[in-house]
């Protein structure tokens, strides 16, 4: 396959970026998208130029590092996969592929196609955990958990924190990311204890970081490589409202302290 690539190039966060056009030839349809980019970078390096920087690590769809916006869709044209799982057989000979970084105010650009997604870590730090210390824990089977809850929690917990939900959302909202974590813990007895405070803290942090609001377009669900459902957002909304209306005021202050 012969392809034309239009790639966003930007030296660092403070410089101005622009699109550059590259040609890659003889790409095997069996190679992965990143192997195609590796080939491109090899060509660029051989010419003595700076290769395209892009985030990637595990290359098996689980670490959530990869983050390319390909032809108008995060992680490319296929459903339920990450960029590193995308294979060139999803494209046609002669295609032009436009590759952009995730775009959102809380994701400042680092270089070329790499953005800084620490904002997602900050949201988890605000409350995405169960406050238990190591040791002194009762037996794992002491509290039975309905299989349905465990399964739903697992569905939500499969989030890889890639940020595709933010990248695809018209409003750069992180509701699916936050909703997934809030849901996971709200569904389990271990997480219920802090549920009210968790949801308030995490939502407040998300707003504070400059993510947009949810307008229920559900692009996030369509682009989530782990196909996490927007029902998790609804569950978070429910939790949030319940917490705002019912939770004791002092709880918020004591939480996580």
């Amino acid at each position: 396959m012969d392809l034309t690539l239009k790639i966003w190039r930007q030296k660092n966060s403070s410089s101005k970026g622009k699109f550059e056009t590259y040609k890659v030839n003889d790409v095997s349809p069996d190679s992965s998208f990143f192997e195609m980019l590796d080939t491109l970078n090899q060509q660029i390096i051989e010419k003595g130029n700076d290769p395209v920087a892009f985030d990637h690590d595990c290359r098996e769809g689980i670490c959530g590092t990869c983050s390319l916006y390909i032809n108008g869709r995060p992680h490319g044209p296929k459903r339920g996969i990450t960029t590193c799982q995308l294979h060139m057989r999803s494209f046609k000979n002669g295609d032009t592929i436009v590759i952009e970084p995730w775009r959102a105010k809380p994701f400042p650009l680092v270089k070329d196609l790499i953005v800084d997604r620490s904002a997602l870590d900050l949201i988890i730090q605000a409350g995405g955990y169960v406050s238990v210390n190591t040791g002194g824990i009762p037996d794992a089977n002491a509290i039975p958990i309905p299989k349905m809850n465990a399964d739903l929690a697992m569905d939500a917990a499969s989030c890889i924190g890639c940020g595709a939900c933010v990248a695809s959302c018209a409003n750069a909202s992180a509701m699916l990311f936050v909703g997934a974590k809030v849901s996971q813990l709200a569904l389990l007895p271990q997480g219920k204890i802090e549920a009210a405070n968790r949801v308030q803290k995490m939502v407040a942090e998300m707003d504070h970081l400059g993510f947009g609001n949810c307008s229920n377009t559900y692009a996030c669900e369509a682009e989530c490589p782990k196909e996490i459902k927007v029902t998790n957002i609804a569950r978070m909304n429910r939790q949030f409202m319940k917490a705002k209306v019912c939770a004791e005021k002092h709880e918020a202050a004591s939480f996580g302290g």
């Binding site: 032809n71 775009r103 750069a172 909202s173 609001n213 229920n216 609804a234 909304n237």
Partner: protein, 205 residues
């Protein structure tokens, strides 16, 4: 947002019911009775302010949220998003704006006359909404514009109802499908129902 939206949607049903009374072939007796009840009953009068408040908050919050959302992505994409999403969900602010324009027009013809902001057109009484409606709907241009607006309202509502449920967290595996269907049926009902009136007056009056 969702809460006020759903509240306004409820109001639309009441409004629609009264409008449909226009179709009763009784020279507007029922319609006039209903509208004068709405215009004079003290509870309704108080409720009117609640309703305006609802509109006001819905619009203001909608605009503020949208501006904030736009600010969340200062640098846009070269290739516009192609994610598979419901078409109307992306354009709520625009369909909303169109509805707002209609709302002003609508007020010019009815509510503003009532409160005296706008002159009563010649040959009509201040509170005679029935004659006003006939005058307007027999004007074909107005009728088509009116129907066009309601199609946009339908678009707005189609996303709005189920979206409101989602925002309120009233989203559940068991009922999601029903909510989506209700949303669709409701939007068709409202857009269609309101459009029936001009169609009636244009072709069958």
């Amino acid at each position: 947002m969702g809460l006020f939206g759903l509240f306004l949607a409820m109001f639309l049903l009441v409004h629609l019911t009264i409008n449909l009374l226009l179709l009763c072939n009784d020279g507007g007796e029922l319609f006039t009775a209903a509208s004068s009840f709405m215009g004079t009953n003290i509870a309704i009068k108080i409720f009117e302010y609640v309703l305006f408040g609802g509109f006001f908050i819905h619009i203001i919050v909608g605009v503020i949220i949208t501006l904030k959302n736009w600010a969340s992505r200062p640098v846009g994409y070269l290739v516009a998003n192609k994610s598979h999403t419901s078409f109307f969900s992306k354009y709520m602010i625009y369909t909303g704006a169109i509805i707002f324009i209609f709302l002003i027009l609508h007020f010019m013809h009815f509510f503003f006359i009532k409160i005296g902001w706008v002159q009563v057109p010649a040959g009509l009484e201040k509170h005679d909404f029935y004659k006003m409606a006939i005058a307007l709907f027999t004007n074909k241009l107005y009728s088509f514009v009116y129907m066009a607006f309601f199609i946009f309202l339908g678009f707005h509502l189609n996303h709005a109802i189920q979206s409101g449920f989602q925002t309120l967290g009233l989203n559940h595996n068991k009922y999601n499908c029903t909510i989506k269907k209700v949303s669709l049926i409701y939007s068709i009902l409202v857009a269609g129902g309101f459009s029936l009136v001009p169609i009636y007056f244009m072709f069958f009056f």
